[in-house]
Amino acid sequence: MSDATTGSGGAGGLGITEADKSDPATPKFPYPPKPATVGASHVNQDDPEVRKAQEERLIWVWDAPKGWKYWSAVNNTEVGLWYTATSFAFMLFAGVLGLMIRVQLAVPENDFLTGHFYNQVYTLHGTVMMFLFAVPIFEAVAIIILPQMLGARDLPFPRLSAFGYWCFLIGGIFVCGSILFSAAPSGGWFMYPPLTTQERFTPGYGADIWLLGLSFIEVASIAAAVELIVGTLKCRPPGMRLNLMPLYAWYVLVVAGMILFAFPPLIAGDILFELERLFNWPFFDPERGGDPMLWQHLFWIFGHPEVYIVFLPAIALLAMIVPTFARRPILGYSWIVLAAVGTGFLSFGLWVHHMYTTGLPSISLGFFSAASEAVAIPTGVQIFVFLATLLTGRVIFSVPMLFVSGSLAIFVVGGLTGVMVALAPFDWQAHDTYFVVAHLHYVLLGGMLFPVVAGVYYFWPMLAGKTLSDKLGKTAFWLMFVGFNVGFFPMHFSGLMGMPRRIWTYPEGLGLELPNLISSVGAFVFAAGFLIVVFDVLRPRSKQPYAPRNVWNAGTLEWLAEQEDKGWGVRSIPIVTTRYPLWQQKNFVEDVDMGRFYMPDAEELKRETMVTSVLDAEPVQCLRVPGPTFMTMWAAVFLAAVFIFATFHWWYMTIGAMVLATIAIFVWLWRGTALIPEKGEKDVGLGLKLPLYVSGPKSVGWWAMFITMVGDGTAFLSLIFGYLFFFTIHEEFPPAGMAEPGILWPALSLALFLAAWIASQMALSINKAGGVLLARALIGGSALLAFAASAAILAGPYFNGLDPVVHVYPATVWVLVIWTAVHGAAGALMLIYCLVRSFAGRLTPEFDIDIANTALYWHFMAATALIATVAVALLPLAS
């Protein structure tokens, strides 16, 4: 890395230097085309020779690696495709499990599966469908089509997407594979303790596999959320103001925001859960002050928004498909925005409707009942917007539309039964019965699977260049539609007839035989229909000619994609002035193809995309994005190893993997982020010059840090929620005679943390002002203070002898201080990284992304330290 230490911008010119070759932002392929010598504003774009040279450069720059190195690709198209294919593979696996359930329940007192194995099967069916298909498919599809829809060449953090994908793949295989050893989790997909936390009820590794595997996948989801929020807000094409954004992008923004607030509570819950399983800390054990209700709160604060996290992106596909086939712009654009944002908020006020029967007071249930009814309003609005758009347009029928209609028919049933179960008194009957099983499948298949299949038929020509078969599509639809209804409608009855969910057998004579048999038949018909879709997608079609470009004659930017697709995303980054540029802007496609808009070239042979402002998408920066690397895969592998080794209690190996994962992440950061460009700004065409390096709130990295820390802060607040939860349910908390962490150590720790925080902020401004030496001293001092502060906060409970095993009070205190100390140590590592970067010449007064982002982290760190120390030191005084 020493060869890079001298780079400080401005000197490189346009030539490829030796230093650039070791720079991973330049893909390492043989025979690179020659770099351009003239800026984009000064070439004649109508000259075919010029265009040919530009295209060669673009193709070379954006091409995915060949051979085994293909797996180091990070392009959104490659990663998105892997992601989608993997999600569907998990879906098929879970589908087989679903069919096994239906075989078992086809007749009463069946012995196809044992109860013990059945419990693993249904748990894995739910878990895989929800965590490995429904949520990831959103991320997968968004990673593919969002940049296309926004006329961007890639998402702002391609390597983060790749890292997320590898996490997802490894975690998913780990979770699914467990059933082959009959070691799968068997407590249901929401894993209620104490059944799942106590060894005597669930011996073995099943629950640990569930928990650690999924925690790991949650990391992938949050990574995707960060990527997609920044992508939507900052990577739109110039001119695409908020009111011109495709509706899909609105949905992505809302859903990614929801992930940011919904997943962290589950991560917090996972931490408590696993600490109980691994170390016997009694968070959910009532005998030592714990309460199983806390898990239900944390799980469903995640779990209900999750339903909308699954549903909204699928509805977003409908919002793109419907206008295309109604041959008109969407009617009621603002109403969709209302619905998306409104649902996003209201969905966080529903969680207790999964807990109506837990004995909470009626008034509390009432609030959640009210919000659960209210959320039906925006949901209904979306359906009426689609109906209104169809009624005011001239509809062309097609296979995607067939699936859209089918999804409406199914989803509306699910919505209506949802309104029913939202009323607590009815839910007291319906809860945990097959009525709810029917309801949730109507919602999820009508609201997610059918739209996604509609999306597959709709977008396939864009992705693969060839259309899917109409004939097969229609057959598949009718089999799926009829099969689904035959399979799931009778479950409403069996539920009301008194059939609880999650039973592996049922007796004769209750009237359950017929509905169950019909359900089983329907399930197989449905599966046959889905297999036809799979066949249609996978069948070889080398003889089939390419579909015409923009085969459905749609109006949005993703349909600029050429047949066959080029890796560059768009030929030039267009200026957008309408919602449906392909319909509403003259000569649009030709202008894009001729490179008459921005960035028609990759002059320096680097991957670049444009960053614009949030409200009006004014150009802000030409962003260099990093190219292929295996480092993200290594980071994911080592991180996976941490989780897997921890599952089996191999502690030394866990710690080793942790160190390797940290190293991998720092290597990835060092080589791929905050690279100092060879010149300050660059001509992107049409006379516009944009900076290549910006830091602070203007940079995408700063926003990524901000968003990540919002999610991280939410997880921390969820732990605080747990602490206050125990405080409210216990008359005395801490219980009399219990050791307390005292005032001294927390106060000292807070003082040290605040000093570290101030030092980090001063380091940022002094470095900017040119005081490099003083800044280095401050950075180093701040790191030392951070380590000391982390040690001090641990010292409180340690020296006062708080034993986390005896009661939930010391356990909760320990969790809060460990969380804070770990974050303090991470903050210190980031500061040390900045220090090294400064010595290496990669962090300078002018190029200060690293310290700017670290300083931002420290704002959150200071808030965390403040809340944690106040909570552990002062709460005992309050009781």
Binding site: Y333, L346, F367, A370, I377, I729
Partner: protein, 124 residues
């Protein structure tokens, strides 16, 4: 063209539902704190219910103000429900109209969430 008094952005857009969320959270906490021991469940909880009524009134007024502000400026920009023009005014008008719709939804939702405190008088 009338220049708007405020410049709308994503934060003003979500102000009304954020108020709903805060109202929801506070109502829940007030009721939970009053009922958490789950004993003496038939004892009336007038105090917490009045408190919920008060925060409901505050929330409704705040959302009403947001609604009224958005509506005035949206009308000032010419109203209408189509906002796909490529101008800063077009974007502004779109945000105002969406804010208005979200404020209406938030208003209804706050009323919904206040209803339990109206109909349930104790901790049963």
């Amino acid at each position: 063209m009338i220049h708007s008094e405020t410049r709308d952005n994503l934060w003003t857009l979500i102000a009304a539902p954020t108020i709903w969320a805060l109202h929801f959270l506070v109502s829940y906490i007030v009721a939970a704190a009053a009922c958490v021991p789950n004993v003496a469940i038939f004892q009336a909880i007038a105090g917490p219910r009045i408190l919920i009524a008060v925060i409901t009134a505050i929330a409704l007024v705040a959302i009403g103000l947001i609604f009224w502000r958005a509506r005035r400026e949206w009308k000032g920009h010419g109203g209408g429900s189509v906002h796909d023009t490529d101008t800063a005014t077009g974007r502004e008008r779109f945000l105002e109209f969406s804010t208005l719709l979200l404020a209406a939804l938030s208003f209804v939702s706050v009323v919904f969430v206040a209803l339990p405190a109206l109909f349930v008088a104790d901790c049963r």
